[in-house]
Amino acid sequence: MDIATQSEVLLRSAGYETWTWPGGSVPVVCFENATVVGFLHVFASGESLLADWQQIQQTTLGRHAASLRSAGTKAWNVYALFLACGSEPALARRIERIEEDFSMTRKIARGDLRTVADLRRTLLPLLPVLSAPVIGGADYRARLRARLSDLPDDAVAAFLGAASASEVARILVDAP
């Protein structure tokens, strides 16, 4: 999976402006919307991520320091993402602990990305709500009519129609 490209696809779909920044030692995708700016770093492995993320963040922020200084309150909403594929679970857990470092940036770190779904889950803090349950009509009457096919037709018609409940009962009692 091309993490950088897929990330841009997802972020742009969520309304972010994205572009790549070639100045880093690893591929970097910059992104920004009305409230957030961020830098997404893609590492070749979990080990290199764990070893280099601080230095690479320093470099990225340093090169964008002027812009961030002029960003006002937006400078508080800087995201730094450190992503890699294929790390073992133990290493992946260590990588995730990077997120608990609140200094300078809000960090998102994953070392075990394999699919686009994994990437989408990782980027959730930056994305709008993806699931939009649509609870539509249940075609209730048709369902009931199908389920009640064993009952006398006139009773079903009365039940689904305007007849009272006692009238339905009377029809069933009088049924041959």
Partner: protein, 685 residues
Amino acid sequence: MRLDYLELCGFRGFLERQRVDFGTGFTVICGRNGVGKSTLCDAVEFALTGQIDKYLVDKAAKESLDDYVWWRGEGHPEAHFVTVGFRADDGSGFAVTRSRETGADRDAARIEAMLCVPGAKPERALQQVCRTSIIRDEWIAALSLDLTETQRFEFVRAALGAIEGPDYAAKAREALSSAEAVHNAAAQSYEEARARLTAALTDLEQIRDVALQAGDVAAVLTTLDELTPGAGPDLGARVAAARKALARRRSNLGEMGWVADEARAVAALRDTVARHGDSAGRDAAAVAEAEIAVQEARRQLQAAEARLDREQESDGLAASLAILVDHGSRIGLHDDRCPLCRAPQGAPEFEKGLASARERLAARRSAVPEARGEVAAARTRVEDAGEILKQAETVVHRLASAQAELEAREEALSAELVRRSLDGGLAYDPEALEEVVQAERSRLIDLERSILTLEASQAVERVTELEARLEALRAEADDASDRLARAHAAVRTTRTLDRTVRRTNAEIIDERLAVISPLLNELYQRLRPHSEWRSIDYGIRGDVRRFLSLRVGNGLNPQFVFSSGQRRAAGLAFLLSVHLSRPWCNWRTLMLDDPVQHIDDFRALHLVEVLSALQRSGRQIVCAVEDPSLAELLCRRLMSEPTALGRRHDLDLVPGGGASVTRSTDIAPAMVGVLRRARDLSAAS
């Protein structure tokens, strides 16, 4: 529809009139404990529903929450009211004012019409609106993980809204009740018809038995005339009179039986007395003879006792002589004189005298034992003679008693016979008396047979009547049975109908839950309560009672494996998914009252990001927090745009008491294109 403003005065902790304008995008309310943050949420709910649903305890010490809705501190507010204003996307608005004096200025139906989609809203829609739109600190765990599985199912079911169309479940229940009522009535009619038929059958059989005994009525009437004269011509009256006479004479016959038994007993006693009367002379002679024998035995006893006295006296003299001989022998002669009799004696003569005395004493034999034996034998003879006398006297006495008893019983029996209008002489003739009793018994049998014959003649007609009635009752029972069978079938069918409706409803709910499940999981993943368990699943079971369970990891219940902070985070995911899944609700505002208690900074940040995502998905966010830095984070991270501004209100207590909005700030939109400018500059250079 979004919250536009809130105005309140004299409500809870607010003394003065206050107005809170909400940002179209978001509003952050900040203040320390007790400055009225929660009251703003309460005010919205109270304006809409007239109640505040957050307290677990409704009453305490005879006071209820209603006593504390309006200001109770020092001072007097200028008014007591709450107004909440809403604004739709098209710019139209409406407001609800609820005052202490006049209540709400709009009825619940009109408020529902503004906030809910017609036809799809659940029962108690406004309460459901508030419960799923205003997420309070108190309820985050209580309304989610801490609910029982059935309560959780009901909570979600209500939040998802009604199934469109008429309430067929209620109609099916009502139809089932009606069918059961018809069935119960048919069952009762059937039982009553069967009871009548059974009773008629029993009557018929009894009447038939009676009818079989029908015989010669004329002969019977003659018998009745003899036995119960003067009963009149009416047959029923004659039967009744005969039954009375029969009862009376049966009682009399019973008593006569006792009299006959007594006569036989007296006759037996009489025979006994007569037999003993023959030996009366011998018994008297035996008594006289026994008395003589007793006197003779007593005389012999006296003689034996006199001899015993003499022998005992003789033995005493002999003993004294032996003592004297021994004494004289020890003393010897004294001055040639015998020491016992002072007679002058020589020694040989003295020794000879002693020897002679010893010989006589030795030759003497005591007769006392023999005399004692005679006394004992005489006493035995006296006792034996006395016993014989006693027995003879007893025989004589017993005979006398039997004679007296016989005379008394004969006299009583004779009197009883006379009282019963019979010959008193029958007391001395038990056989004749028995013949009298047998004759009466025979008359009673004739009388009873006569009665039965007469009744049987009446029963023949009754049999015909009853047989006709029985046919009608059989038809009636058959008809009732048929009605019962049809009612039973109708109940079965209606149960099927009821089950089918419930099952169909459950299917729809299940499907709706399946639809919202990805949202629940997404929110759970965003809030990340647990570092290992990254997803949450729900399960539904039960047919009549429905259970909704939540599971994480390998089927674990988060209620029992999560810490309180994790439970609140998972609970928030649940409540937010419910909030976002209400197709029936037009109100697009999410109010959170202090949602970050017990949640660490890391997960508080996740929550802020979730709120940002919700806002970007079109929700208006209103969030009350205590921590100013968290309020700042919310203001920075939530999106304020020119068309959907954010706003912050800081609350505090003011001098004189009461809470107040001390500062309101519009949040300016963040700078746009910060990094892009740098990129453009870099590209240009």
